[in-house]
Amino acid sequence: MKKEVAYFKVNGRSYEVILTPETTLSELLREHLDLTGTKRACGVGECGSCTVLVDGIPTLACSTLAIAVRGKEVLTIEGLAKGTQLHPLQQAFIDSGAIQCGFCTSGMIMMAKALLDKNPNPSRQEVKEGLGGNLCRCTGYVKIIDAVMAAAEAMGKGADR
């Protein structure tokens, strides 16, 4: 196994990591950087629980080689809040009752952020379509969609992105 040193930017911080080319972004985050907020529920890119943003693009960390994103800006769930101030999406998920077991929550929020960054005023159907690649087994999705709609409204009113 050929190891190399690579540099990563995650949540605004720089990291120097020794890894092999086979290391997935999911493994980099969870095992190397102790950022376990990004989950791994299937490993085949079907569930969306490993969604992070790479240069703002929603990306499945389990299906991405870490080495391919070196130098890019990676944003994970841990990077959303500013200190104790939650991102409007995080707050909306709490307020709307959109969290049950919470395992899908990180992926849902990151995907929703990508959606709202592109389309700040989505319809309910657009939110549903936007979350089509994120599976949840607990909630039936109803309150998750409620939360994204509520976050869009709050952000539209000037709540800090």
């Binding site: 079907e46 009752g97 087994r137």
Partner: protein
Amino acid sequence: MIDELSVIGKRVSRWGAYDRVTGAAKYTVDIKLPRMLVGKVLTSPYPHARIIKIDKSKAEKLPGVEAVITFEDIPKKLFTPNRHDLILYHPENERKDMYVISEKARFVGDRVAAVAAVDAATAQKALELIEVKYEVLPAVLDPIEAMKPGAPRIHDFAPNNISLHLNFPGSRGDVEKGFGEADCVIEETFRTSKQHISQLEPCACAASFGPDGRLTIWSPGQSAFLQRRKVAELFDMPEGMIKWITPHVGGSFGKSGALSVEPICVALTKKTGKPVKIEYSREEDFRGTETRQTYVATGKIGVKKDGTITALQEKLIVDGGAYFSRNSTTSMASMGGFTGLYRCPNVAAEADCVYTNILTTGGIRGYGNSEGTCVLEQLVDKAAKEIGMDPIQLRLRNIKKAGDPDNKGLPMETCTLEELIKVGAEKIGWAEKRARKKQNGTKKYGIGMAIMMDVSGAHPSCIQHRNAYIKFNEDGSANLVVTAYDMGQNLPGACAQIAAEVLGIRYEDIHILNGDTDSTMFDTGIGASAGLYQVGQAVMKAAQEARRQLLERAGKRLRLAPEELEVRDRRIYVKSDPQRGISVAEVTRQATYNLEGEHLNIFGKGSFSPTQSPPPFATVFAEVEVDTETGEVRVQKILYVNDSGRVINPATVEGQIEGGIAQSVGYCLTEDYVINRETGVLESDNFTTYKIPSALDVPETEVILYEEPVPSGPFGAKGVGHGTTIAVNPAIANAIYDAVGVFITDMPATPEKIFEALRRR
């Protein structure tokens, strides 16, 4: 007494929300311990095989491998992974048929060996280096085939592979006579689907021995104390030497009521002397953790022309899988659900639990009542059609009322089935929609409904024992220490609401300590919607005792009797003179640091065992559209009318229902656990092949929360989560029946099956 509730009934944020939205919440899969080894399990590629010899030498020599264990290395004790044998009043129907690592392979995925190594890649390589010599045996994958004489015997003690024959003890009357009195008798055989509940967090466990020999286990198991006892007995340890920690749990739905990898993980940590974590891949989770209870169910109903049900009979063949686990209790619940939903003088049921060389069918949300009710509710609709009666009218004719026995034989404090039917029928526009013209091009519309009653805990069949304690902090907040297992249904949050309401402080003033057997008190574990009704009452008692001490102490300060005082919103005040009072914080601080007299850390303990299990009720209406050219079913809408007694947190209750609906839509229409009939290999082993509903697959949902507080419940609350997968399936099946006259007897009701049924006509 307080006129208006301040916390109960409010949509407060759930317990653990902050940790979960920030990624801080640690689940078992996230656990990291210093020097931790990675454990992996080698499983059988054959559905049935003797293990002749295992050569682990090459694996052991691989650098980085610290242990390779087989049947030789584990305690030679048969056990059942299910914890009911520890608490059932009649445990004789349980079967201890499993070793920590199997001595014989009984399904593809059965545990044959395990390794612990420095990292996942090394562990995987080590598995590949273990050489197992199998003697492949003929396998049997179908329960009916398994019962036939000459079928391969899976467990030595079970001839014809029948592990248990159950005659339902609630059978009563004379069913033959009842069928004789009927004008219409319908009998159908159903095959229920082997759904895999697919909780998002893959199965995992971590274990570590401390220098003092105490073992710590991290596991998503639903019954920490009971599961701890099982591990203790397996490894000859006293329970007190094991600390069982429950991290955040990424879903369970009943599955983690059974032990899975915990014993192997402990065996590895024992062998290596180092912490070990096993984390299943999604494929391993599909292959190796229990599925939903699965039946070949023959149901028979007799009705008179006027709609009276004269007899009900059910014969179950339980496709039990390779190990018994929860076969008996789920079968009992299924038969109870079938025979106990309606008034009927003549009911009988029996079950044969059968071993097959497939993955064990366990105890998943609904726990047999889901299957029994589905069979019954579909038969009711068919009978209604035969006698030309509206299906709602037939149900109302036989509906149970308060005082009638529930499906466990206990008299019901309340029963709102009739009200729920009427509320739902009006809301959905039943009469008009049943009568409407069905066809639109190639698509036909249908509407169907079903009802259910479930349980609030497994009383009276087993010990249910709950404890909680509360200690005030100096600042007037309180720590609630309770085993309140949270698989997403927010039991800790509901307990905090109850505590806050009784103590007269705010919801955010309650800090919960949960999931640590060293500090929480004994609890028999969660399942069958026991949590809120039972644990909630232990919490209530603890809070009442702490409140009593608080008011007594405040009374001393104010020189008044405690009966003259009230406490609300962090303030203790005089009932007759509300301006006069003292803050809770002042009382607690002064009690702790009392310069003048007796010190007191205000503390309350509560213990609870139920004498009842009030059923939650629901009626569900489903609207579907069936494409007659393709057989595709689109569920347009589900209306769910729910009575769980008083609603402690509407967001939680709605969330449970909405989630149950989504699971049921999958169970009914698309989720198919596909096992290759030749090789016994699971073909649907990830979400690519096993499709659970996404946001686009869930229909429009409407939930009506009908609150009928039940006298014995905490603030009148009953259970909810368990029952939400019971009535949706039959409602959808009945809607399909209404739309196109196809009677679903084989789930999932795929377009292929519906197309074929339409073509045959």
